[in-house]
Symmetry: C2
């Protein structure tokens, strides 16, 4: 049995323990396990944003472009998290939303080989990933098609010679099942298929290795484990071998070789930056920068240790303390097959989630019977997990979750 | 000759005079004539953003989606400025950047009639408008083509039966030349051509009449005259007759009929909202909302009076006070043909702009010899213009602009 003292002992060994103080604590007594939804706020965000809007917007106005690094932020931010996702420092930019970046890279990859017009994805991928792919297929028409596999082991057989792109979420947003990126990339490469990964549910929780595993393309959001805040810019990665092969599909002035020349002819800048489109989200980028300035100091191996330790501790605590109360782990048992969060089932999951909220534990419910605890490694301790699970146990033991007031379940 | 007292008399009649106090004043003594670049900041922006990041991000985290109106902001913001651009209140949304919105609507309009695959635009349109159109044409291939007209009077002849879309900026970003939207829409409709307008250099300065003139599509940025701040969300408009005709080209979860159902099949929501893509820019939307809450109170006819009065006063002051010092109006003489800013030529325009900056007047330079004064009607008085032009006269009379230190020209 894992006790409170065991959790404290793990915290004493935690190489990232000091980072917790870099984040604002939130509501007193609340334990936030929704890093898979919106991650914690770096403590200096209010000060940084206030500085931006007063010195930048109010005072400098257009001169903000000269006085500050507004123009460079998209790639400076990318450099700052590249080591966390295993990308070259010049291969990542922050821009637009995950949805728009998915479209941009899917369309870009598609045009590189229109003679292989089929896109393969998972039937249960995150909705926007499915919609974007279906929308692209409808737009380009012709032989373009979207093929959905129902189960992971159907992947190999699905990658025929007509397939150009394999588009997967690294981690399933419900079960937290994680693909073996290295293996999938090998299979795809052997089949002559490009890979496009969505790392929204892993980046900032689990170190990825995009370059090392030869991923072709990737996207991810900034507001979950990367802690960029609600409405944060998303990021995208293009392997160097593809960066300069074609025009971007959305050719915008921020991707021009000379942004402020106002040339009438488009000339894409070299590298991943040609995927930039319109004016950067300057407020959102400043909030993201507060988080990225923390990520710059985080070592990959420390992140790997911390998240694994949190995730394994949480699974053990849930089973030991709540296994006899109807809780069943829904995520894969093997850590290497799990993503940023841990999902578990309970027959009253919706009401339990609401009752837990009232006890100061923020998780999230997914139909029909699943609760997700997202583990943001920089701002959580093992002791936090112990208290969260203890509160869950009390909610289940007391039966308080059956009360009428917990029947209305929030998003 | 227009004197300081005349300007004060106009200010005394100004129906929008009280709005100036709703904006933060900026650097003491500085007159900001860069509303065509980044508009003034509503005074309550710092407080609103601080509230959002502390109560929303830090404390509420994922529960912010329930506690606040983050999800609804894109169309609530659209409702708030619809009267300013002459659109139905349900026909405008804020989302993404101008560049991305241009792509979305251009591609959407293109797919409605692929049998008319030619897009017509101006050779000297704003760069990103040209790039996006050229990028789309390259992506779809086939018979798609971009046709650029050199002069306005070439428009009618360019709209042959192979043309599907006419894509124009309402106002030229350099000269401030304004198209007659009603007339162009009539010509386009008679030729069976859809119109897509970019109102970035008019919205918030000059009331537009998108619905009344039967414009098909429009986009615009939020950070210029609309005062949404650097990185503000852009907006888009789709005439009701086109809103439900097809899937959006970038089909994202925010445009789904039931956003939080996480359905695997895409079903576009009815109306313009299907053009929403990914998660909204929540920080940027809050800053935009501070401005939109002001716009809700602004009457179209007052905006029309104020901007015309400012623009005509500025032209007269420039000619009277600086005409003999080498200043020549570059914008159209007729107010009905001018947009949000006034452009004027001077042989030393770049250095003059820098010398003016040192005197506390923020204008902007465009190669080779043009200076632009952008007129944000809610935060400027006629007296401001008098002082700005008086400072310009002193800069020119004194010859101070010839000094070495003013040779390096900023963007």
């Amino acid at each position: 049995m894992i006790g409170l003292e065991d959790c404290r002992a793990l915290d004493a060994r935690d190489p990232l323990a000091a980072f917790k103080a870099r984040f604002a604590p939130g509501e007193p007594g609340t334990i936030y396990l929704d890093g898979n939804s919106i991650g914690p706020m770096p403590a200096d965000v209010p000060r940084r944003i206030e500085r931006l809007v007063t010195l930048g917007w109010r005072d400098a106005r257009r001169r903000g472009w000269q006085r500050f690094d507004w123009l460079e932020k998209p790639w400076r931010l990318g450099e700052g998290i590249a080591h966390i996702v295993g990308a070259g420092s010049k291969d990542v930019i922050f821009c637009d939303s995950t949805t728009v970046n998915l479209f941009k890279l899917l369309a870009y990859a598609w045009r590189l080989r229109p003679e292989r017009p089929v896109i393969v994805t998972e039937a249960h991928n995150f909705p926007t990933d499915l919609y974007v792919a279906e929308g692209l297929v409808r737009f380009v028409g012709g032989n373009a098609a979207l093929r959905r596999i129902e189960e992971p082991d159907a992947l190999g057989a699905a990658l025929g010679p007509e397939v150009g792109i394999l588009c997967l979420s690294h981690v399933d947003y419900r079960s937290s099942r994680r693909w073996n990126m290295a293996e999938v990339n090998r299979v795809a490469e052997a089949a002559g298929v490009f890979t496009l990964w969505d790392l929204s549910h892993s980046a900032g929780a689990i170190p990825a290795d995009l370059s090392g595993t030869q991923a072709d393309f990737a996207v991810g959001c900034g507001y979950k484990y990367l802690c960029g805040g609600p409405g944060a810019p998303a990021w995208l990665y293009v392997h160097p071998r593809h960066q300069d092969r074609a025009w971007p599909v959305i050719a915008g002035w921020m991707g021009h070789a000379d942004v402020f020349a106002f040339a009438e002819a488009y000339e894409p800048v070299e590298g991943v930056r040609r995927q930039l489109t319109g004016s950067p989200g300057i407020l959102a980028n400043e909030a993201m920068a507060a988080a990225v300035d923390i990520w710059r100091e985080v070592r990959r191996e420390d992140l790997a240790w911390k998240h694994r330790s949190l995730s394994e501790t949480l699974v053990a605590l849930l089973e030991e303390q709540c296994g006899s109360l109807g809780v069943e782990i829904a995520s894969p048992r093997d850590y290497e097959e799990r993503g940023g969060h841990v999902a578990f089932r309970h027959p009253g999951a919706g009401a339990v989630t609401e009752a837990l909220l009232a006890q100061g534990v923020v998780g999230s419910f997914r139909k029909p019977d699943s609760i997700r605890f997202g583990l943001a490694p920089l701002a959580l301790s093992h002791e936090d997990l112990w208290h969260a699970v203890a509160r869950l146990r009390r909610v289940l033991e007391s039966g308080i979750w059956r009360e009428e007031r917990y029947r209305t379940v929030s998003v």
